[in-house]
Symmetry: C2
Subunit: 455 residues, 2 copies
């Protein structure tokens, strides 16, 4: 048998702390602003939505933050996750590159999302919260929070964008299997939902509407909070366990990446794999290339503006400085549902603006082709989102073949595609096409950015 392909950390070596990149930023993040006063928000402004422990993490500049034992007890069901050396893919590509992938699809929800869902559920439970509301688009996040709710005995109420609710009944069944409630949004449960339905009874919903419904329910009751699955600092923090594990796993085979690659929607899986290595670099360690890969049809980092914007379409959230296509931007219905967000995590936007992260965009057809090439070599069908990272990795491996360089490429395989076989069905049947937003649509959405005086 040839050399190791699966690099495992024993359960006893699961990281005990997350890594907070705010501790090492050469320039601090721009402040988050209140949507009305445009003054920096404080913990009290966020208290109706999040438990205080989460708000502290959101604002912390402490480098290493302890992972509570009850969170690690749930994590260990699938963590430490495996790091794979993609020897079969390397052979198929005839590349001198050393390709590694961190596989987060081993979680019970099939993606990286439980890393933060479990943590958020724990902090809510610890502060006496009984119920958490959230929104979900394609269903990955809702499924993960439903799982977390079952682990910590919390009611989970998920507003699922109606078009996905109808198209993906299995996602709803997954959430309900864990005891969560899943409601099609817009719904009659909230004033926000009722207002939309009064205006348009046939509305198929949007992530913006679903957020409004979830937030409305959360602020109504003292025993209820809200949870978000990406974008915010504390979410990215919770995902860093993947990169910390990967660093240790690479040490076990005496290697270190030359390039770290992840797909970016809200940014949390990319941050999870990249920040622990980027932190080393910021503290004087080895310089690494960090490649954030996004869909050409929602090109937040490559085409968006680095500016203050709202997180939601209804403009209820604080303003954050980020790469954005404008909160009015509606991405086309391409198949990587987890990458359809108009904004980008402020930390990733900031580090991209500072030149540490290089963004890149690909069309969905070339990504599906890369995903199938990967599947046939490595045996795992990637989630459509993860195909973007696969595509960039294959391109870099081919570049190595051409230049003869033996680079170490590390990417985050953030989830499997087993829940996304409709996308592959459509791709294999030749029914998918590139769906880029027009330049006119993009500039119109950007025209709606808020004007924030003096910033």
């Amino acid at each position: 048998m040839s050399d190791t392909v699966k690099i495992l950390l024993p359960e006893t070596e699961m990281p005990k702390q997350w890594y907070n990149i705010n501790a090492d930023l050469p320039v601090p993040l721009a402040p988050v602003l209140h949507p009305v006063t445009h003054k920096p928000v404080g913990p009290d402004d966020l208290a109706p939505l999040f438990p205080m422990a989460v708000i502290e993490q959101e604002m912390s500049t402490e480098r290493n933050i302890d992972i509570p034992d009850p969170v690690r007890e749930v994590y260990r069901q699938w963590r430490p996750s495996p790091l794979f050396r993609a020897r079969r893919l390397e052979k198929a590509l005839n590349t001198p590159a050393r390709i590694y992938y961190k596989y987060e699809g081993v979680s019970p929800a099939g993606s990286h999302k439980p890393n933060t869902a479990i943590a958020q559920a724990f902090y809510n439970k610890a502060e006496g919260v009984k119920r958490i509301t959230t929104e979900t688009g394609a269903g990955q996040w809702g499924s993960s929070l439903a799982l977390a709710g079952a682990m910590f005995d919390l009611e989970i109420e998920v507003f699922m964008v109606k078009v996905s609710f109808n198209q993906k009944p299995y996602r709803r069944a997954f959430m309900e299997s864990f005891g969560a409630t899943c409601t099609a949004s817009p719904s009659n449960l909230t004033a926000a939902g009722r207002a939309i339905l009064a205006d348009n009874p046939d509305s198929t919903g949007s992530l913006g509407i679903a957020i409004s419904e979830a937030v409305e329910l959360a602020v109504q009751r003292d025993d209820t909070k809200y949870a978000l699955g990406s974008v915010l600092n504390h979410v990215l923090l919770h995902q860093t366990i993947a990169g910390i594990e990967a660093r240790r796993q690479l040490e076990m085979v005496d290697d270190y990446p030359d390039m770290v690659i992840g797909c970016t929607g809200g940014g949390s899986n990319f941050a999870g794999i990249a920040f622990p290595f980027l932190g080393e670099q910021l503290r004087g360690g080895k310089a690494v290339e960090f490649i954030a890969v996004e869909p050409a049809s929602c090109p937040t980092l490559t085409q968006g503006k680095f500016a203050y914007d709202w997180g939601d379409t209804a403009h209820m959230t604080p303003l954050t400085k980020m790469h954005t296509l404008g909160s009015a931007f509606v991405p086309p219905g391409f198949h990587a549902g987890g990458l359809r967000y108009h904004g980008m995590a402020p930390q990733i936007s900031h580090l991209t603006d500072l030149g540490y992260i290089k963004p890149r965009a690909y069309g969905q057809l070339e990504c599906f082709a890369a995903g199938l090439e990967f599947a046939r070599a490595e045996g795992i069908i990637p989630a459509p989102e993860a195909n973007h990272a696969v595509k960039a990795t294959i391109d870099e491996a081919i570049r190595c073949r051409e230049t003869g360089e033996s680079k170490a490429l590390l990417f985050n395989l953030c989830g499997h595609g087993n829940f996304d076989m409709q996308a592959y069905t459509d791709y294999l049947a030749g029914k998918l096409k590139e769906e880029d937003a027009s330049a006119a649509e993009q500039s119109m959405a950007l025209a709606g950015l808020p004007s924030v005086a003096g910033l």
Copy 2:
């Protein structure tokens, strides 16, 4: 953090041999008979269907059979699979029992089936075969062979029962993603299929018809063989890697099972977890209770006859002595598609007849309820088939609570339910009912058994 929940073997300790229970049987198996002559079949009779290495394994009485290195190289992508101590479930049940489950859902196809698919693909490739045909019902086996075909560069042609082909388009997409061909059966590709369609153009197919189509194509061309996913000795042999790993993993925590539990359709996942322990017992080791759990609606071991029967409805296969409901028996359309077979592996039938294995049957509603109880404690939604093993384990754990005994219970969680969410959707919506075959239907099917002189 409390004690270990996930017991991992390092890749370097992956078993190098499968265990063949034929070496330790106190009474040898009854011979397999030619369907026409009723004489014992020899290797040449099977040569048109299987590669010679597989036929040798089918007939071998050697105790330990080497796993070829190229098979281990693919296995190690997910093997050794984890053994879990179900501490959260134990707590929820307030039981003194120590519950362990071997989790085979970590394979890329989500079940134990690749353990034999990879091996069979390797042996076919080694003997110059270019194409393998097979049938699939619910799609688990077809998916696994498709994966194996991609790993060993073989054409895979799957005949999928038409009703499932239409109901489960994602399974087809999964197979096609790995480059396999998936055809609805009955089809126009074979004489067998065309005959059925001429008679009944609206036929929704059956496993028996699909087998006939796959076998017909396999015997037509020298470069083509056929593969079966359960029942036969060599298939059960390949699955023993699960039990061998589990035994070593239990050693790591200084434990040994009092009871081993698995669900039984054709019998391969049960054999995989049970035979390595049963072999120890047969060689004078500790006596263990072995519980084979089947659906009440296809009660092969608990209600069937131990007699010679055909493996297929068209009576093209050899005759084997096994527990059977009669090859004409058509099980009702309950949701554990992998357990809908009229017969049972001859090795399991034989060992049940000898008293070493205790069969037990449950209805599907109580199994789904057990599956959800497990999911909410352990975070994994089991496949509907595996729910039968979960149900028996929970029952035994509750019995331990009542008696105060601290037994070690080991079961095989042979697959996850992520591809079976329609079943959970139906269960949660209250749409499932018990679908038992009537006594009259059962006795009618048994009346069709062949009369085999002198046996």
